[in-house]
């Protein structure tokens, strides 16, 4: 059997400057895909506090970030500033994705564009999930905006938690047990799916499989949804293990003909 060259994929990431989780979890996830070699190239939007003022300032940096990433000739760009988009109002991810796509296309780039916010919506629809529960690290008002955003997308948020951690560095250090405790406290009786982390900075990758087993329903995070969206955008198989049922959908069951 001849060895085939792995498909090399360049992923451009627009991340909040203090975010370290996207650049940890996404590479960890996509490295599990056989036959492909991913490289990651980030551009940063300065943001320390997830507050309305800082979020508005962050979005203004979008053009610069896309310009920088474009120079690296990525195959796909993930706009990984989830709450920044959602805080701006319903449907914002479509507007921003379209502006970024236009900016890339105007320069002749063929990169696909996705966003963490859009990816979450896409992944939930793919499960398919209509009623969802969420765990967020945010202060309540911001968490409510996230709930409202998803409801505007036609989802029903049956229950949610806000861990109320304002500092983005601290969000990146939230212990897994705290996230799981919040998840277990949710009323999941009517939920089709759980968003274990509706945030790209709150670490949650290691928790996903166990949460699915323990809670008995599909579990996604902003990161796994982002990976899902990237793989679909590039027409690549969903054969990532250890990160929830959605990402291993294309894994052929052992013993199948």
């Amino acid at each position: 059997m001849s060895a085939t060259q792995p498909r090399t994929v360049r992923v451009g990431l627009v991340v909040p400057s203090s975010n370290v989780t996207v650049e940890t979890e996404l590479p960890a996830l996509l490295a599990r895909l056989d036959g492909a070699a991913f490289s990651f190239h980030s551009s940063r939007m300065r943001m320390a506090r997830v507050s309305p003022r800082e979020l508005a300032a962050m979005n203004a940096q979008r053009e610069r970030c896309v310009l920088e990433l474009g120079d690296a000739r990525p195959d796909v760009v993930l706009y990984a500033c989830l709450v920044a988009l959602m805080a701006a109002g319903p449907g914002e991810h479509r507007r921003v994705e379209s502006l970024v796509a236009e900016q890339l296309a105007a320069g002749g780039s063929v990169a696909r564009i996705r966003s963490s916010a859009g990816a979450l919506v896409e992944a939930l629809a793919a499960i398919p999930a209509r009623r969802v529960a969420l765990v967020t690290p945010y202060l309540r008002p911001l968490a409510e905006q996230v709930v409202g955003y998803l409801e505007a997308e036609g989802l029903e948020v049956v229950d949610w938690r806000a861990l109320e951690v304002e500092d983005n560095h601290a969000v990146g250090c939230i212990q897994g047990e705290r996230v799981m405790a919040a998840a277990r406290s949710l009323d999941l009786r009517d939920a089709d799916a759980l968003v274990l982390s509706a945030c790209v900075q709150m670490p949650s990758l290691a928790l996903v499989d166990d949460a699915e087993l323990a809670l008995g329903l599909p579990v996604v995070t902003a990161a796994t949804a982002g990976a899902y969206s990237i793989l679909r955008a590039l027409d690549m198989p969903l054969t990532v293990l250890g990160a929830g049922s959605l990402l291993r959908r294309d894994v052929v069951a052992a013993g199948a003909a």
Partner: protein
């Protein structure tokens, strides 16, 4: 002959390069008052290597837009020699009618509006160069900072249905004769007469309202219900 449905919605944008973005903004946004409605900042990431650029758009009414590309670092052409604008340069002996043939004409609804734009231009560094009026249209002309000829025009009367017919016959006649060697306007007018003989009466009969004047030597049209 079946007609395909006309689905398009006008000018998304007519795009031109500029080497003077400040002057261009001053002309369209500040003098003419056309709002800036969109911009894209990008680089050349495609197969052809080209500089960073900004693409910016002015609204010219009806949601139509005129747009400009400014490429960072691209040297401007020498406009001191020859004729034309920053996009198309011509030798000195190129006839004016040809140089002027490509231009953007923007519509206004009334004399009052036309004079208002005349006023704005005359108070600026780009005064009206020509004002032309005849029975059907009145126009003012100037060149923008890039040398592009800009016309602002108003119709003195609405277009009448027979003008649509006539335009279509002209175009058909033109397409018919254009393949002949050394064809002239005379050939077009002769071919058009043939088409008129073929089509004009049937067209008239199909028109909804009857003209007040009694047509001479024409078949009686059907009575409108």
């Amino acid at each position: 002959m079946s007609e395909r449905e006309h689905l398009v919605r006008g000018v998304d944008h007519a795009a031109f390069p500029t080497f003077d973005p400040a002057g261009t903004v001053q002309f369209y946004r500040d003098v003419l008052g056309f709002p800036v409605v969109h911009s894209i900042c990008a680089a050349g990431w495609g197969p052809e290597d080209h500089p960073d650029f900004v693409h910016f758009f002015f609204d010219i009414g009806n949601d139509d837009r005129v747009a400009f590309f400014y490429y960072f670092g691209l040297p401007a052409p020498d406009v001191a020699v020859g004729k034309g604008d920053v996009y198309a340069r011509f030798s000195d002996d190129t006839p004016e009618y040809f140089v002027r043939s490509r231009h953007l004409a923007i519509h206004v609804d009334s004399e009052e509006h036309l004079l208002e734009y005349r006023r704005r231009l005359d108070a600026s560094a780009w005064p009206v160069r020509m004002q032309i009026r005849h029975e059907t249209i009145e126009s003012i002309y100037t060149h923008d900072p890039n040398g592009y000829l800009v016309e602002i025009t108003r119709a003195l009367r609405p277009v009448m249905p027979q003008e649509d017919l006539d335009a279509n016959l002209t175009v058909e006649a033109l397409v018919d004769i254009v393949g002949r060697p050394h064809h002239t306007l005379d050939d077009l007018l002769v071919r058009k007469a043939e088409l008129i003989v073929e089509r004009a009466e049937a067209w008239q009969d199909a028109q909804p309202a009857q003209d007040a004047r009694e047509p001479v030597n024409a078949p009686q049209g059907s009575e409108s219900p």
